[in-house]
Symmetry: C2
Amino acid sequence: MARGLNRVTLVGTLTQDPELRYTAGGLAVMELNLAGTEFITDEQGQTREVPWYHRAKLLGKSAEFWGDNLKAGMALFVDGRLEYRTWEQEGQKKSSLEIRAERIEVLALEGKRGTVTVTDARGQERLRGGLNLVMLVGNLTRDPEVRYTPQGTAVARLGLAVNERYTSRQGAEQERTHYIEAQAWRELAEYAGELRKGEGAFFMGRLVNDSWVAQDGTKRYVTRVELVRLERLARGTVQSGGDGSQNGRTGKIDIEEGLEDFPPEEDLPF
Amino acid sequence: MARGLNRVTLVGTLTQDPELRYTAGGLAVMELNLAGTEFITDEQGQTREVPWYHRAKLLGKSAEFWGDNLKAGMALFVDGRLEYRTWEQEGQKKSSLEIRAERIEVLALEGKRGTVTVTDARGQERLRGGLNLVMLVGNLTRDPEVRYTPQGTAVARLGLAVNERYTSRQGAEQERTHYIEAQAWRELAEYAGELRKGEGAFFMGRLVNDSWVAQDGTKRYVTRVELVRLERLARGTVQSGGDGSQNGRTGKIDIEEGLEDFPPEEDLPF
């Protein structure tokens, strides 16, 4: 599987004062609840203001460094990556996709022309003109299927397996995979329909949260990438890696995994 | 000085077959000449197609890995950073700002709707709908000065010092600084005028190459960032760093440096 690229960049305001807490193992954890809007120009040239809410996690020394200095209403630049985790709960396999913040900066908005915050329905400050950018490189976990809304708009759901290599505390080279769902509309959806499982792809888009009621009546949530750009990676340009980092194993098991917890296609509203 | 963030992401076509060469010291070097256009919507809602040409350098094993597999006309995703270098030539101090590619991927454009290449005046393939994205965090090297074009449009030039920490081959913690010039227009220029030397800032924009004839009659070139977003970093949120990586020393000498080789304000056409 291709070496993964996994980047999330957000600019938004804190909707609440973040609290520093510690896990049982003594790891500092800080949850950052961020809100922003982006101005997006659609195909008809109309500019819409799209709000978003995301939670990012800051861990360890960085969390302790910021301590109780972060307050609701502050604007932050957050740079990090998407982290896919699985666990067992009451015999059921659960999974989540979180934003792991690797770097944050407090932005000074005072006196700034153009950018302002709006107060949302819950009384929280939401940054107008925020930033919500995701870039990923990985391999498709399935053949994307193109569907159509009742209005005839093409939409495709894509799954991407993004490989991460890291060095463990014991100094061992480790590898793990993040499973990320994405959605493409219109022409991009039609193009997605030409891609096949296992292919390498470059995703660029916005992170969105979605919820729906599944067939069993329970409410489900998913964080996914709304694609603004999708590119296939060419295959077979170079057969084997000089430094081993360009092409790794093609992990069939990795690609198969991580599907169970995403909404089955039959749960989709269209 | 704040820990720097330094990222360049390009999607464009190779205008020439890149050649792998070696330095006297045995380091593999590959120069990638890339061309693309971006569709940019201005304040009046007009979409313009803006062409760009940039050269990125791929070094070491990555360069050898790609070998002679890259050909003119191929579309590439390039992820890397800006590298500022200085040297002496005939007693004169010279400097350059280069794109160091850290990762490349060949994109498969065949059968793709929407994205096509155009042949430019020199017969080179230029990707329509490329990507040219720069994100930086650093400190201002001077007070930005706002000027006005004959048409009355505000423009500001900004200098940013971006700190980089790295581990040398001998395992020592090293630090160096990249000096990067930027330009802001209209409201963003007026806002830039409120910023002061030494302040931390987040820059987001497009990389552009510019050339002009200096007062001594010689032609000068500069690579700079055309800003689409500029944010001041708040000061004094936290006084000292928990892990030492959030706030380092405020290096006055670093900030003073790197100015000599950039165009003096009097060389500007307005």
